[in-house]
Amino acid sequence: MTTTAPAPPRSLTTVVPPARSVSVESHATAIDVDRLSFFYGQKQALFDITAKLPAKLVTAFIGPSGCGKSTFLRTMNRMNDVVPGTRVTGKLIVDGRDIYAPGVDPVALRREVGMVFQKSNPFPKSIFENIAYGVRLNRLAADTSAMNDIVEESLRNAALWEEVKDRLHDSALALSGGQQQRLCIARALAIKPKILLMDEPASALDPIATQRIEELIYELRSKFTIVIVTHNMQQAARVSDMTALFWLGKLVEFDRTEKIFTNPAEKLTEDYVTGRFG
């Protein structure tokens, strides 16, 4: 990444489209993180993260590969519990409750905190069954007609209904990549989580499919608290209200997206968002 004659830094306004301006203060805190550290065995991956993520807004995590942003996201629904040898210190309060306190059931937590993964992972079942799976797990549908309603509503929320309504009982694996990812979003929405975590949801998709996902996030933001990991800064600027920059497992800066991309407090943030490293 070293060049003999570095190009003059691009101006911030040309790199980033204007972000939407919000009054963060008027939003309650959905996720309150207090000096959270995370370890894979002996290796520490997150260092003393402290942040308050506002409810019903979109928070984006940006940063170079391996900076801990996905790890941090996965601490929020205790998905890292699945990985052997991991350890957490500090507090992560969701809905007024420390989710790492003893006695907290990660299975119950994940019903409140939904997740969409980087690579779409529909079950090898029909489109209908993919949505119905979580609904049945959580006993959210009293009868068949309630189930049908939830499936339709979820698919509509994920902007997929019109494309699949005539083939609900076909295999989900026959859908295109972008459709599969929207199905996974619909599946997560069907269990009515309060918080939706998205781990680079568009990184494996083409630009048009990516745009649809971004539009979807835009529509969903009033209903859910959304946390999205992305390695695409323009995407973070387009879809998020708040942005957090991670670097080497540390939270460098966390502020309104507009501020992060136009007037960051940290030199490191400015260097990253202008593309000078990362």
């Binding site: 629904n77 998905m79 699945v82 299975v107 119950a108 994940r110 019903r111 939904g114 997740m115 993964f117 690579k119 992972n121 529909p122 079950f123 090898p124 079942k125 799976y133 979580g134 797990l137 959580n138 076909d170 295999s171 989900a172 694996l173 026959a174 996974c184 599946r187 997560a188 269990i191």
Partner: protein, 283 residues
């Protein structure tokens, strides 16, 4: 230039050697099929499938007892080997680094290598001697023991092939680990597991040694698991070493039926697997 010529010659020779090896490998199979079909077809008629063995010295009679017997014995074996094999395979795949899983994996591999006659002797000791009675139960047990390690290892291998992302997807929706395994991971591996089970069935249907002194043999049609029972393999063996021309012909026919049964199993496995995969992937 010279170097190039040599290189091309070597290439040609190696390709021919490969082709020759394939032919050599296929010749025994072709001959077996040819002999079994050409010899077996002569004694194959309706009576062969429906009649019981004729008294010694009399012509005719059939293998009805043996055909039914083989199906019953394989059924008994599968009835306990398939659940035990699949459940233990799931355990090994779910908790791969526990001591029990390591031991079970090693035990399965060892059991797979145990000569079938040894399995027969073992079952004779535990299921024939105490009751002073040969029985279909004992024969099925012996076949089941042969089958367990195949099913266990197939299940384990196929579960390991299911992408972890599928399990994570189920967990993220609030599934417990057990629920995720049963409702997402296991169904995703099901087409392959079914193939494995059916191939294991075909394999044990062709076993003779474990049955020789467990199910023994029976000249009469029996479906009682407490009684001795005939099987295609044992009856083919008995007929083949007998001094009677007519019995030799029937032994060939029995061999043909056995081969056809195994082939049918393989085709069934393929069909079922394709069908399931098509349901899952939509292609």
């Amino acid at each position: 230039m010279r170097h190039d010529v040599v290189r091309r010659w070597i290439s040609t020779i190696v390709v021919w050697l490969c082709g020759l090896s394939v032919v050599v490998a296929l010749v025994p199979l072709a001959f077996i099929l040819f002999f079994v079909v050409s010899q077996g077809i002569q004694a194959l008629n309706w009576e062969f499938f429906t009649a019981l063995p004729a008294p010694v010295g009399e012509l005719g009679g059939g293998f009805a007892n043996a055909i039914v017997g083989t199906l019953v014995l394989v059924g008994i074996g599968a009835a306990f080997a398939v659940p035990v094999g699949i459940i233990s395979g799931v355990y090994i795949a779910e908790f791969p680094s526990t001591r029990l899983a390591t031991m079970a994996r090693f035990a399965a591999d060892t059991l797979n290598g145990v000569p079938s006659i040894v399995v027969g002797v073992f079952v004779y000791g535990i299921a024939v001697m105490p009751f002073k009675q040969f029985s279909a139960m004992a024969g099925g047990l012996a076949l089941g023991i042969m089958m367990i390690p195949i099913v266990t290892r197939t299940t384990e291998e196929l579960l390991k092939l299911v992408p972890p992302a599928l399990r994570e997807g189920a967990l993220a929706l609030g599934a417990t680990r057990g629920r995720a395994t049963l409702t997402v991971v296991l169904p995703a591996a099901a087409p392959g597991i079914i193939t494995g089970v059916v191939l294991a069935l075909a394999r044990i249907a062709g076993e003779t040694a474990p049955l020789l002194f467990t199910a023994f043999n029976n000249r009469f049609l029996s479906t009682d698991p407490r009684q001795p029972m005939a099987s295609l393999t044992v009856q083919v063996y008995n007929y083949a070493i007998s001094p009677y021309e007519d019995w030799h012909r029937q032994a060939w026919a029995g061999a043909l039926v056995l081969v056809a049964l195994v082939l049918f199993c393989s085709l069934l496995a393929r069909f079922a697997t394709r069908r399931l995969e098509r349901l899952q992937t939509g292609h």
